[in-house]
Symmetry: C2
Subunit: 259 residues, 2 copies
Amino acid sequence: MKKIYLIGIGPGSPDYLTVQAINTMKKVDVFFLLEKEGCEELIEIRKKILERYLEEGSYRVVTAAICDRKKGGKSYKKGVETWRQQKAEVILELIEHEMKDGENGAFLIWGDPSLYDGQLEILQHILKLGIVDFEYEEIPGITSVQVLAQRHKIPLNRIGESIVIATGRRLKEYAPAEVKNIAVVLDSYSAFKHFKDEDIDIYWGAYLGTADEILISGRLRDVIEDIGRIRKEAKREKGWIMDAYILRRAEGNETNSRN
Amino acid sequence: MKKIYLIGIGPGSPDYLTVQAINTMKKVDVFFLLEKEGCEELIEIRKKILERYLEEGSYRVVTAAICDRKKGGKSYKKGVETWRQQKAEVILELIEHEMKDGENGAFLIWGDPSLYDGQLEILQHILKLGIVDFEYEEIPGITSVQVLAQRHKIPLNRIGESIVIATGRRLKEYAPAEVKNIAVVLDSYSAFKHFKDEDIDIYWGAYLGTADEILISGRLRDVIEDIGRIRKEAKREKGWIMDAYILRRAEGNETNSRN
């Protein structure tokens, strides 16, 4: 039987790996490093993690390009499903032809495989097709949301408060009064712009845990232009950006909403 | 200057520690292990983590008892604040008298210090008092919510879905139709009982990542009695329980709520 591990590696620094992740990596025969075109640096970061924790020559690496998700289709859910379908074909191919029976394969996942990743569902989808059989296991990793709170020295919740984790796409659907304490990931829309007139603080960070880390915080309306400009510059310079932020209604301005 | 580290150690197993957590522990002169009476096993788990990663004799350990939060007062927020105040007095005493200037002290925090812990706010409160001066830093850890998803082999979100993280106390305030995808921690109320007539699945786990781990999942109404009984038995046997769960509306039964 083949076995596939989805290993959470945290948001960037090799120091975020857990002992469980490192011990799992040591059992792996082949690492599959998938990335979109233009994001070769993200492949390099993963290779450095392998080099730091594993003996040279004790593992194989197979890299593969995955396509970007086409945006703007009729249904968001259908769009994601089509994209996952395409990714599933690439991954099925790798599992079928790039590893032998009895071997362990692994994908190194940014952050935690259970949070807005989709690779787990892709493996479950491939199994259902019945073309190839394998076992699979996830290894939790530190998420960018946790590092964001840590770098800004704030808790993820104030006393008695819930935390919402959402994508930028979901955030756009919130009414201003509903925004009390929301952590946002995967926001290519800069959806925080919709709330610039509210008494809301933002805690923003990009390239968390790496040498290029940028942190900005303050009342949203005061820092919104800085974030927009710095975000655009950084993305142009590096070719990619991974950022996250927390929107938090200022104390004493809570509404009755329970986000 | 004294420096205090709040080190996230994950939900139980020493394998959940990150490289960053271990490297930080190696710089620490004194570890403060605080626990409620009756929870001595939780002190022992922490001591085993120290023994596994550090050289004998390279650090000091100071244990201290903290009181339980008194429940049922007039205001929940006030109750928590009073309890934190009492905890702050114990911690201030430790920082003042159990470590020398230039030394590093640390607290080992279950899960992640930024998620429903309160120790960060206690340190910030102590600093404001102006009695003692110190630097402080948090080290992120794997949360029980992540391990829960991993053990049940489910993602924390379905496509396009937000995630709410709440305490049992908050969950009680939700209307049934609002429950779409909620991870619940710190629930001594078994608040899931309020939703037993809904088409909701539960993914429950206790003592996650330890040898005593218990996992139950299924349609809430089908497993609710098992969870209630097993939870009670386990708590009686061990004297304490740490559990968490995810409530998820069954596919095809989504309401228009956006939890």
